[in-house]
């Protein structure tokens, strides 16, 4: 029988709307407005998780995104399942299911709990120390460690939800809708700043909205009443947009922030479909006002992690906001007055508060007096030395603190309780502030890190800026708003504030126990099970830097990034090492502030939208004719066209033979095309290509090789002179964008005096490459008027013509070694051109071929492919292409590098042909080449770059780069493979038609 711990109907909980949900397979009820945490607590469920390392039972500690313990798997086993979700952030809905993580078989009985009893054997650095020896065993250790590591289960099926990205621009972004955020947003918007207010929770008002200290007043109202009125007024303000359930994940430079807007996580499954689940807002703000508030700190004492031990502020929120009592016998443990407010909250609702343990000697504030009057026992100068209760707290032991706070004295008093609220003071939430690059400074009096040096237009207001009392908050907020918004007055200049003054402070980072520290478990990082003992061990072992201690002990390395315990870790290090906290500095807070789903990060860029792809105008024809495609850069290129169930090898052999024996046709539309115009166009080409261009006649084509300044081959292609001052350059498919960029760079920065204009026309033209001995006859059929004689239209020349009414540019150039034509038409006529060629070529059995056959045909001719036979370390000399490097030209890009001491070495890798001794063995591309088989280790001389079985030569051929290969013609080398050694002979890379007779066939 579960207890019902609802204490009072709360205005934030809709008790008429009863919701059933399942936790660990058991059905519970809650109400609309509950979080999973508040609903579980109302059902008296505290034990929700097992800790990461020791598998200790853990309960709900907080009421917000800082929760370290209560991380659950939501909707397990479904396609919407999500691991590592904080129960304190999940809004319940009908049908919600959640389960505990990191426990087996169940959270109630967890086998891993044995680790807790073995904990003396798991000190900090246990893995580093234990699994080092013998080194060769690591792989075996790793197998077991991997199996026991990790939290939660990632979904195994496709995410059904839609995610979105949106760019947002605003004058003022206010992060956090507590009292400071609301006041800041109101003033910004009223002064005509386009303002966006974002709040991670569903409701506005932060903690002030359920503030109950009757001794605090704003304009004679309680802060809660006053703030509700302000929130009501926000609705009527222009220029103000409010987004709730929106958590800022990252704050980058130049006021660029990423926020996740949660749109459907609180809805029932049936209402989630076809809606955007989460949206990533990419916000660029002129000014940022951080009002992120403060997080309450716990206190660090022996066994401070049992289910039932919570933050005092969380108990207050559950009581005031959700109307839930977290226990029936409550105790508070504190170093400041805020626990008294929580105690009064429970007291006012008739819930039993047994005692308050206060490490201070006294406090005279009104709220403390009220607690005394209520008859609640206060133990001044006392500390908790131990707690009991395995799955739920059942008692605490307290002792008197010594004057210096380092030990306890006197007799031990035991107090029975089922819930303990701890209040260790407040830590400003400066995470986003530091992410922006701004710097913090430690305030020795307040014991907090505060914003100190802003790097962008930003301010931190309210408690994240170090103001904790409402009077300070309002006073400083008014001034900061005037300064940053450049306004003379705010809405809140004449506001009247009364506050209950806290007048005593005491901070002890690690509270003493009657036992030696080695026998205690004071947890500092709950999520990663790091204790004060681990931190002290790290210091004893010589770690000093906070960043090293963090990594060694894993303090602050959980999904919560140590939001609760980091300050204590720093304090303990400072105390132990005898340094000031300000000198120690902090660890780095990194985005995201709270975890993001992968869905939010990728947005709509999934499936076919993952990357852009480009298709040629002939694509539909290729698809209809069952082509297989290959990705070349972003292009989808026809790879080969299998017929009657051919394998790739069979199809390529057929296509290659056909192209040489009769006619073939290739879609070459993807080649980069750059239109070059201007009176200095020839001079420009002279400077960017290795060969000479000044004397190229109009209507002629020339192959060019382009280098980097380091002398290495960058790109190649044929450029045609269309007119006196007009060229069209072709580049490799993958290199087009980079070549254009490089040419523009030189024109703009090195040679601005040249009169040259570059335009990318790659997408403007479709290109069909018609090749083979019958290509001439086919072209003649398509354009009967064009004189195709070798005299009128020789190899490496260009004609402008018409196919019917369609204007076309024809280059007689060849990448296969066959007589061939590249026909270019306006892209929209591409498919038409292609179909005309196919139709005209029917009688010659014209065979469409893809990129694989193109590669094979050019390899037979020993033509390189930049990027396949070169890799950024090959000069033209290495490629045995000395013929294309002009000796006469004074300069071109990369020329000087061709005779650097390194580039003239004779033992550089050089391009050669390779023939296997057994003509049927085809080498693997990438296979390594050696000169000795019976030597180990043996020097790798080079590798195979291109390799095919040539149907035209009826043998295997390969191109390779080999150290000193130029002088190895005829030499026997070896290609050692896994199961065999292949004998090869170095050969001339031109395997077919060495005299180029077929070009004019």
């Amino acid at each position: 029988m579960t207890k019902n711990l609802r204490v009072k109907s709360s205005e934030y909980i809709d008790e008429t709307n009863r919701i059933s949900f399942k936790f660990n397979g058991k059905t519970y009820h809650g109400f609309k407005g509950d979080t999973l945490a508040s609903a579980l607590l109302a059902n008296d469920v505290h034990l929700v998780a097992r800790s990461f390392k020791y598998h200790r039972p853990r309960g709900i500690m907080t009421s917000g995104s800082e929760e370290p313990n209560a991380i659950v798997q939501v909707n397990p086993g479904t396609n919407r399942t999500e691991p590592n979700v904080r129960a304190t952030e999940v809004e319940i809905y009908e049908g919600l299911e959640a389960s505990s993580q990191n426990c087996w078989p169940s959270v109630e009985f967890d086998i891993g709990g044995i680790n807790n009893f073995l904990s003396p054997f798991f000190p900090a650095g246990f893995y580093y120390k234990t699994f080092m020896w013998p080194a060769s065993f690591w792989e075996k250790y790793e197998f077991f460690i991997r199996h026991s590591a990790g939290l939660g289960k990632s979904p195994t099926t496709t995410d059904p939800d839609i995610y979105d990205h949106r760019n947002v621009h605003c004058d003022v972004l206010v992060v956090g809708a507590g009292i400071s955020g609301i006041m800041a947003a109101k003033n910004a918007a009223k002064n005509n700043f386009k303002t966006l207010l974002v709040e991670e929770k569903n409701e506005l008002g932060g903690s002030t909205i359920y503030e109950n200290n009757e001794f605090n007043k704003i304009d004679n109202k309680t802060p809660s009443e006053w703030l509700k009125k302000e929130i009501e007024e926000l609705k009527n303000i222009k220029n103000l947009e409010i987004k709730t359930r929106t958590s800022v994940a990252a704050y980058h430079q130049y006021n660029y922030l990423l926020a996740r807007e949660n749109l459907t996580d609180h809805l029932e499954a049936k209402d989630k479909t076809n809606k955007i689940r989460q949206r990533l807002l990419k916000i660029r703000a002129k000014k940022v006002i951080l009002a992120t508030g403060a997080l309450e700190r716990p206190l660090i004492f022996n066994n401070n992690d049992r289910p039932g031990i919570m933050l005092s502020s969380a108990i207050k929120k559950y009581s005031e906001f959700y109307g839930v009592a977290c226990g029936s016998k409550n105790v508070f443990f504190t170093n400041n007055d805020s626990a008294y407010e929580s105690a009064i909250s429970l007291y006012n609702k008739g819930i039993n508060v047994e005692a308050i343990i206060d490490i201070r000697e006294q406090s005279e504030s009104k709220i403390v007096k009220k607690v005394k009057e209520a008859g609640i026992k206060i133990y001044w100068s006392h500390s908790i030395v131990d707690t009991t209760g395995y799955k739920r707290l059942n008692s605490i032991s307290i002792m008197k603190l010594s004057n210096d706070g380092t030990s306890v004295t006197g007799s031990k008093i035991s107090i029975s309780c089922d819930c303990l609220g701890v209040a260790g003071g407040w830590t400003p939430a400066v995470h986003l502030y530091t992410q922006s690059g701004s710097k913090l400074k430690f305030d020795e009096e307040k014991k907090v890190f505060l914003p100190n040096q802003n790097t962008s237009e930003q301010i931190s207001v309210g408690s994240c800026g170090g103001d904790f009392k409402i009077d300070e908050i309002i006073k400083n907020l008014n001034q900061k708003l005037k300064d940053t918004l450049n306004i003379n007055e705010t809405d809140f200049d004449s506001i009247k504030v009364e506050i209950d003054q806290e007048n005593s402070k005491r901070n002890i980072w690690l509270l003493p126990s009657d036992k030696p520290i080695g026998k205690t478990k004071p947890f500092v990082d709950y999520q990663n099970d790091a204790t004060a003992k681990d931190i002290k061990l790290a210091l004893r072992e010589g770690f000093r830097s906070i960043e090293h201690v963090k990594r060694y002990t894993t303090t602050g390395m959980g999904t919560d990034q140590g939001k609760l315990g980091n300050m204590h870790a720093l304090g303990i290090i400072a105390d132990t090492a005898g340094v000031k906290m300000g000198e120690l500095g902090t660890t780095t807070f990194r985005p995201p502030y709270t975890p993001l789903t992968f869905g939010t990060i990728v947005g709509r860029n999934v499936g076919k939208f993952f990357d852009i792809f480009r298709r040629t105008p002939m694509n539909d024809w290729h698809v209809e004719n069952k082509a297989e495609f290959e990705n070349v850069g972003q292009w989808k290129r026809a790879w080969y066209y299998p017929i009657n169930g051919e394998t790739m090898h069979q199809a390529v052999q057929r296509e290659s033979k056909a192209a040489r024996e009769s006619a073939g046709i290739l879609d070459a539309s993807t080649l980069g095309k750059i239109d070059i115009q201007g009176s200095d166009a020839s001079e420009f080409l002279n400077r960017v290509y290795t060969n000479a261009w000044s004397k190229l006649a109009i209507g002629k084509c020339r192959y060019g090789l382009m280098l980097n300044e380091d002398g290495m081959v960058y790109d190649d292609g044929v450029t045609t002179r269309l007119g006196e001052n007009h060229y069209i350059m072709t580049t490799t498919t993958g290199g087009a964008a980079n070549v254009l960029g490089k040419l523009e760079d030189y024109l703009q920065t090195e040679w601005p005096e040249l009169d040259v204009y570059l335009t990318s026309v790659t997408d403007h033209y479709a290109t069909a490459s018609l090749c083979g001995p019958n290509s001439k006859k086919i072209l003649k059929k398509i354009i009967p008027d064009l004189d195709l004689s070798d005299e009128n239209f020789p190899h490496m020349s260009f004609k402008e013509s018409k196919i019917g009414n369609i204007q076309c540019r024809i280059m007689r150039i060849s990448f296969t070694g066959e007589h061939s034509y590249e026909i270019n038409v306006q892209a929209s006529y591409g498919k038409d051109l292609w179909e005309k060629c196919i139709e005209a070529g029917k009688e010659f059995n014209i065979t469409p071929y893809g990129t694989e056959t193109m590669h094979l045909l050019r390899a037979e001719k020993g033509f390189i492919i930049v990027g396949q036979d070169t890799d950024g370390t090959m000069t033209p000399i290495d490629l045995q292409m000395d013929w294309i490097v002009s000796k006469k030209k004074y300069d071109f890009i990369g020329k000087r590098s061709l005779y650097r001491s390194d580039t003239i070495r004779e033992d550089r890798k050089q391009l050669v042909g390779l023939l296997t001794d057994d003509p049927n063995i085809v080498l693997e591309e990438g296979a390594q080449i050696v000169s000795e088989l019976n030597q180990s280790p043996v020097e790798m001389l080079g590798h195979v770059t291109s390799s095919y079985f040539s149907p035209n030569l009826k043998k295997s051929i390969a191109l390779a780069v080999v150290r000193g290969g130029k002088d190895m013609m005829g030499k026997k080398l070896f290609v050692p493979m896994e199961n065999k050694n292949i004998n090869v002979t170095v050969a001339n890379p031109v395997f077919y038609d060495e005299k180029n007779e077929r070009l004019n066939a």
Partner: protein, 91 residues
């Protein structure tokens, strides 16, 4: 993510731009006159400063113009932006 004030287009997001390394390294006018060491100095040697650095940027997904930027690499503050060929601001 920087907000970069392209001298031709105005303020744009960094994702529209491409960084192009150190600025004011002129390509030698007469490379053939240079020794291996002198050529290597031009080709390979670049500064990597913590502090104020002069660099080239290109508005690659915009006007495609190259320009110069003075940036403090320690905090990514953009101190100045000026067109190619213009004199760098004195530090």
């Amino acid at each position: 993510m920087f907000l970069i004030n392209c001298p031709y287009c105005g303020e744009r997001d960094q994702q529209e731009f491409k960084a192009g390394g150190e600025a004011h390294i002129e390509r030698p006018k007469q490379p053939t006159e240079l020794s291996d060491d002198e050529w290597a100095e031009y080709l390979f040697m670049r500064k990597n400063i913590k502090g104020v650095q002069f660099e080239r940027w290109n508005h690659a997904h915009g006007c495609r113009k190259w320009f110069n930027m003075v940036r403090d690499t320690s905090n990514d503050e953009i101190k100045a932006i000026y067109k190619m060929g213009e004199k760098p601001p004195s530090q």
